[in-house]
């Protein structure tokens, strides 16, 4: 009985709870984006649906549900349907691996503390990278199956972009592996706790590279070439409408949250407060979820902030940046971190 409970029912409940939290966060990420972007642009943004517009995501969802679902006449129907699923699902799967906290009783709701993650695999980081790169199939299939030139060019761009930015990203994450000595996300955070320092301080260059690559992988400004609206109309999702379009949209935001979560766990100490070895934290209540989601929201704000400020790179310049700057820099950083680690030993 307890076996069944521990390995089947509890993870299922956790999965449902985490999934609904993430989908809620995705929906409200769109709202936050629209509001914050509007404030940065000296306008108000959506503020009419509910007080200060907080019902806007629901209104958007209802509207998109009732929209006509158009499929171009020469499209590959099955792949056209599959693409939006392929982009959202891998992003959501990753949250099965992300630790939101070590152990907690959810603000005193439970008697016994439970682990605040679904599962901790000892190769979690590899899995995360693997699932994150699965998303590109959604983009390529979506662009190719809609049988439109703009979609096709967008898909080609996204393929090239995601593949080339994964290389420096993974190398920058490798420097963290040197520091932590483990691929398990929980162990990485614990290593930061033992060290008493977030990994952002020794690995600032790695953090920077990871963020740049993460923005590029999620196709956000200044690297939003696959969907550059002024050149390619809407890129790979030009021919999508209704709920399928919403899936692409949610996939983009889910991916943003994935990148933010991984950055939080790997570089910003996950659920840990800043400088976790300080004695002051022992007197304050332990709030793992607040720390975690606070950091994720800060990342989302950074995403929006960058979008509000920068123009878009050109395709060849994007490749230049990846291969000529970020890749050498990340390798150099790897060497430096290795030397530092060796020196400490």
């Amino acid at each position: 009985m307890s076996f069944l409970f521990l390995y089947l029912i509890l993870p299922a409940i956790k999965g449902i709870v985490i999934l609904s939290i993430i989908l809620f966060l995705v929906a409200y990420a769109t709202f936050i984006e629209r509001r914050v972007l509007a404030f940065m642009q000296a306008r108000l943004g959506p503020n009419l649906a509910g007080p200060e517009g907080i019902l806007q995501p629901i209104a958007d969802g209802v509207k998109l549900l009732f929209k006509e679902d158009l499929v171009p006449s020469r499209a590959q129907r099955f792949l056209h349907l599959l693409a939006p699923v392929l982009i959202l699902v891998p992003a959501l799967v990753i949250f099965g691996l992300v630790p939101f906290g070590e152990a907690g009783n959810l603000f005193g709701l439970l008697k016994e503390p439970i682990t605040l993650y679904i599962t901790d695999v000892n190769v979690a980081l590899l899995l995360v990278i693997g699932f994150a790169s699965l998303g590109v199939y959604g983009l390529i299939l979506g662009g190719w199956s809609s049988n439109s030139k703009y979609s096709f060019i967008g898909a080609l761009r996204s393929a090239a972009q995601v593949v080339s930015y994964e290389v420096p990203q993974v190398i920058s994450l490798a420097s963290v592996l040197i520091l932590s000595g483990s691929l398990s996300l929980v162990k990485i955070v614990q290593a930061q706790k033992e060290m008493g320092l977030w990994f952002i301080f020794p690995g600032f260059i790695a953090f920077f590279i990871y963020i740049v690559c993460g923005i590029a992988e999620t196709n956000r400004l200044p690297f939003d070439l696959p969907e550059a609206e002024s050149e390619l109309v809407a890129g790979y999702h030009t021919e999508y409408s209704g709920m399928k379009f919403a899936f692409f949209f949610m996939g983009e935001y889910a991916n943003m949250i994935v990148v933010s979560s991984v950055a939080t766990v790997v570089f910003l100490g996950g659920w840990l407060p800043p400088f976790p070895s300080l004695s002051i934290w022992q007197h304050l209540p332990d709030l793992p979820l607040v720390w975690f989601f606070g950091k994720v929201l800060a990342f989302l704000f950074l995403y929006i902030w960058l979008r509000a400020t920068f123009p878009r790179y050109r395709f060849d310049q994007l490749m230049d940046l990846a291969w000529k700057w970020l890749l050498p820099l990340s390798i150099l950083n790897l060497v430096i971190i290795g030397l530092v680690k060796w020196g400490i030993k």
Partner: protein, 366 residues
């Protein structure tokens, strides 16, 4: 047989970055442009023919609809041409009012250019900042002539109305605000490395080519040629005013950006001088123009519109209606250089070049 063909990409007439209804047939090899062919005519309204069927004063509102984001300069060019045909001298105060309206219109047109150009290159925020300031200019226009976009703010022989009370103070207030806010755009764009990467070396046109294509306005001055109708063929009170003509060096998109930014500052300088020098009292409308019936003649008159040299060629046959009116729209002629400028660049550069040429399709198709 398998053969290798270039991808033919149809950009527009419904496309977010073609500034209206321009259609470009692009031949691309991957992302690289091999050939570009602009197709125009989607906004053709037969304005030139319309001019022939109406009397001279009735044509003024139609000129608003040519370059619809710079209506004042269009009015000015047409009215100036008819005045030249009639040999009428515009009263001094009306001249100053015209210059003020022109320069305000130049700023507002350049603001729209900056907004759309930056939006095409991916920077979304300057759009809202520039439109915020443009709104103030439109408010000034509304207060002066009652319309915000299609102004109809000049008549043959002068201007329809005197400046309302307190208008000059509002103009001074705008000048003060604008001089401060122009730094918002500069901070976001001028030094930004992404902006520089996207614009430097893109759409280069050499001075020789620029002259051969007949470019005018900022696209010509960006290539380093100091040609400005306000100085070359002075009209109204421009000879009395002190201003510089900014020129670029390399003839690329970034230089044209700098030229236009500097032009906005020079326009502010002109506005300040106009406020100082404008006579407080005076006629605003030349006498004896109740019924306009010029002698048979042919004139060409041009002004420096925000986009380049805007000219009207009018042939009169002695009747109250013109025999033929031919518009020399700057956008139409600047657009010719587009295929030359984008060849060998990437798709993303096409939108940058369309933006930097600052075309308005209402003027191209007429």
């Amino acid at each position: 047989m398998l053969e290798i063909r270039e991808l033919e990409l149809n950009m527009g007439p419904q496309h977010p970055a073609t500034h209206g209804v321009l259609r470009l047939i692009l031949k691309v090899d991957g992302e690289r442009i091999i050939d570009a062919k602009p197709v125009i005519g989607y906004l053709h309204r037969g304005t030139e023919k319309l001019f022939e069927n109406q009397t001279y004063p009735m044509n003024v509102p139609h000129t608003d609809r040519l370059d619809y984001i710079a209506a004042a300069t269009n009015n000015h060019a047409y009215c100036g041409a008819v005045e030249k045909l009639l040999g009428v001298e515009v009263p001094r105060k009306a001249k100053f009012i015209r210059v003020i309206l022109d320069e305000l219109q130049r700023i507002s047109s350049h603001l729209v250019w900056l907004a759309t150009h930056a939006l095409d290159i991916g920077a979304m925020t300057p759009f809202f900042y520039t439109f915020r300031e443009r709104e103030l200019i439109l408010d000034l226009f509304e207060e002066y002539c009652g319309a915000r976009l299609t102004l109809n703010c000049m008549t043959i022989g002068g201007v329809p109305e005197d400046l309302p009370e307190g208008w000059i103070e509002k103009l001074q207030n705008f000048i003060q605000i604008f001089e401060e806010k122009i730094w918002d755009y500069e901070n976001l764009l001028t030094d930004n490395r992404i902006w520089k990467k996207r614009t430097i070396g893109v759409g280069v046109i050499s001075p020789e080519d620029a002259i051969n294509y007949g470019l005018t306005g900022p696209p010509l001055r960006g290539s380093g040629i100091k040609y400005d109708v306000r100085r070359a063929l002075p009209y109204e009170v421009y000879p009395e005013l002190d201003f510089e003509i900014p020129i670029g060096k390399n003839g690329d998109t970034y230089d044209r950006y700098l030229v236009r930014m500097e032009e906005m500052r020079q326009s502010i300088r002109i506005l300040k001088q106009c406020i100082e020098k404008m006579p407080k009292e005076g006629e605003i409308q030349a006498k004896g123009l109740k019924f306009i019936k010029p002698k048979p003649a042919e004139v060409y008159f041009s002004v420096e519109a925000p986009k380049g040299e805007l000219g009207f060629h009018i042939i009169s046959d002695g009747s109250p209606k013109p025999y033929r009116v031919r518009v020399r729209p700057p956008s139409f002629i600047n657009l010719q250089a587009l295929p030359h400028m984008v060849k060998g660049h990437l798709i993303a550069d096409v939108v940058a070049v369309i933006g930097t040429l600052d075309i308005v399709l209402g003027e191209i198709d007429r």
